[in-house]
Symmetry: C2
Subunit: 456 residues, 2 copies
């Protein structure tokens, strides 16, 4: 049994719906379909979700919203017409449903926003089920409530409740193709609550784990995952296979394929993921699995992200002071700061964190606290740091991986501000100045994937 999730661009138009139907019909194992809201059809197009946010904003601020509501309904109507479906009842249902949600949650803006946003996926799932049914398939729309997707009650940041998985098992007993909207679940008090960013991927992952699927197929608009950001390197190498851990490291820093939470349910259930292209389903796609044979390719990919800073602290005899590191991290925890890495020498320690956490007075306050409470010799912040991650399960047993990276930096005349590689880890982190991050990524790509001239 396969669970197939189709992303926004895969369900953006009638033409895309037809591709999805072909994909579903071509394999009887594709028994559960999770759909996003209609995404962009072309560059510059507006996603339904963005229109829905406009709608909710207007309603919350008591501004007129008729035209945006109309634009939303029209998107579905266009899809339905393109599929030659009789649509009047469905379309009037959408308009009524949106209006009813606005009326219900007029005094609860967070709830209103969540309910309206979630409707994008919900209506699209209904439309998809209707279309598949019209093709002669036994297709059923299944709401997240019926499926059993129960979540915590924090608008916009739903977390799955463990009891959901027991309920989701029952979907195995259902006949036909089930179409479930992505992006949201229901709280135990009956409210619609959306998942954080990447929500439809999370739904697909939860459903796949719940039913114990053989594979979780994630249909998108690229043939595969690339080993490096294609916006930095032209036509980079495609990945056939990578592990959950590699994917997580990559998605964390600059790879927008999956939100980092999305893979947790399938990771825990040990269900392989296949990323495929709705527009070219014959391409093999990229498999995300528990283990891969990495003898040939110790490095899976290179990721990067900007916007980091480093708090650098020095104190003579720091390393003899039991509790120093713990007290430092306690200050950050008190201030609600999460950090990425803590490289250290004998008498100094750096804390790498996302700089956007230090807005306003916070930076000064944290530096003052470190100075006063830890009695350090010196503390200062270095801004404008980028992190570049070389990711690969095979690295830890391979001689020369670090040598290739550092030689590539040296040849490109890039200074390494920081290096961090732990025992049994799947990534090697380099800190560089933001200005040189693209050069750094290109240099690493050259070293690992492009040429063998530089190999040591």
């Amino acid at each position: 049994m396969k669970v197939a999730k189709f992303g926004g661009s895969s369900v953006a138009s009638a033409e895309q719906f037809r591709k999805v139907a072909d994909i579903v019909c071509s394999d009887v194992e594709r028994r559960i379909i999770v759909v996003s809201a209609p995404g962009k059809r072309y560059k510059g197009d507006v996603k339904i979700t963005d229109l829905l946010i406009q709608l909710a904003d207007a309603a919350i601020h008591d501004e007129p919203y008729d035209s945006v509501l109309e634009a939303i309904v029209k998107r579905y109507e266009e899809i339905a017409r393109g599929l030659e479906l009789s649509v009047s009842s469905l379309i009037s249902h959408i308009a009524d449903d949106l209006q009813q949600k606005i009326d219900t949650y007029r005094d609860a803006p967070d709830r209103l926003m969540d309910a309206i946003k979630a409707s994008g996926e919900d209506h699209n799932a209904r439309l998809m089920a209707f279309y598949l049914y019209s093709l002669g398939l036994e297709a059923h729309y299944v709401s997240p409530r019926e499926a059993g997707i129960f979540v915590t009650d924090e608008p916009g940041n739903a977390q799955i409740l463990p009891e959901s998985y027991e309920k989701l098992k029952d979907l195995r007993k259902r006949h036909g193709v089930l179409v479930i909207p992505g992006f949201f679940g229901y709280s135990l008090t009956g409210h619609i609550v959306t998942f954080p960013r990447g929500g439809s991927d999370i739904t697909g992952s939860i459903v796949a784990a719940g039913v114990g699927a053989d594979v979780y197929e994630n249909f998108t608009d690229v043939d595969s995952i690339y080993c490096v950001n294609p916006a930095i390197v032209d036509h980079p190498r495609q990945l056939k296979e990578l592990t959950y851990r590699e994917m997580r490291e990559l998605s964390y820093s600059g790879f927008s394929v999956f939100h980092d939470e999305a893979l947790e349910p399938v990771y825990k259930a040990g269900i392989p993921v296949c990323v495929k292209n709705t527009n070219n389903p014959a391409a093999p796609g990229t498999w995300i699995v528990a283990e891969r044979n990495h003898n040939d390719e110790p490095v899976a990919g290179i990721a990067s992200d900007v916007g980091f800073c480093s708090i650098n602290i020095s104190k003579y005899l720091m390393n003899r002071e039991i509790g120093f590191g713990r007290k430092l991290l306690q200050i950050l925890e008190d201030e609600g700061i999460s950090y990425e890495h803590v490289p250290s020498g004998i008498d100094n320690m750096s804390v790498i964190l996302r700089a956007n956490q230090l807005e306003g007075e916070k930076e000064k306050r944290i530096l003052d606290r470190i100075q006063t409470e830890l009695q350090v010799d010196e503390v200062h912040i270095e801004h404008g740091l980028a992190l570049v991650m070389v990711v690969g399960e095979g690295m830890e047993r391979t001689v020369g991986v670090a040598a290739k990276a550092t030689a590539a930096f040296a040849e490109a005349n890039i200074n390494i501000e920081m290096i961090n590689q732990g025992s049994s880890e799947v990534s090697m982190m380099f800190g560089v100045k933001e200005e040189v991050v693209k050069e750094a990524v290109r240099a690493l790509y050259e070293a690992y994937f492009s040429s063998h001239i530089h190999s040591l």
Copy 2:
């Protein structure tokens, strides 16, 4: 004004005493002399301090100690005779003093051990002062109590009390050459308390800081500090100059030149240190200073140490869990464990620590606590790790330092288990298996100091 400390081998015999006298007489700025107890005169010789420990042990256990007491007195007598001093009163004073200390502290073994150990330096300082005086110098023995070296009252682990520095200033007003015994101070309750390992260096450093010396000269038996352990690399390069921070990183891991606490007082007072050879005082020695010009030589030295282990922890979505690192360090702190480095990836963290801290049940208990309290996916310990440190103030601004190191490892076919280099740090840490640590050090020495063929 210079404070000159003479180590054990520099004051081991009459011949060595003469060299010290020549050194003292050759520079009128050498106004304060700190001496160790007589050390080894040849390979296989016994240090006075070891004899004193035997004496104290025997007295504590009510065993006969006449022969060892006699051997101790005889060492001083030989030195005195070799210097053609009239010695009878001095020698009988030593025997009486040791006997009196045994009688006084018969019921306080810790005190007895400290008092007896400290006597090695004390009697040697008296003898040195007497000898210098006999040469016509205005030399005075000054006891630590008279000098103002007041310390905490923990036998064998004295820490200087801040008020000492005020008192030590008065030594500037004294005339002649002052001879102070190293290794111990007096608690405020009047007891002799010895410093931890490297105690005479600590005394010299404290006195130099207290009197605001122009330089703290540390006389030993080598011409200079080497850039790498001569037991691993034959005839390594001598260092002309290094910074306090570099010295501290080096002495921490495998360089036995200074105990890591010894330099703190001069570091804080900004007093330069010169390491010189008593047997070859014309050699320029090695200077330890606050800043050095490191344009030519970004790397100062290479140090290594064995006996480390790594606790490796992984947990999916670890990096989203605010407080995870703090809780982990809290467990270690509860268990009285100090750690060296905490390299981390997105979902994993390693803690590097000295393995001798995990004796007995502790290892299992710590792993259990991490598993239970932090709900990690996996935790295990990797034993047999060595750390190799590349140390140098210039590294952080120099492209290619890391490349040289990692290329050297790759060429020597050595796998790097860990790398740790923080922003604005003075060292780069590599973790390797203990079996290959010497090869690793030699490979790095080749890369940085020996040849320029491999340079990038």
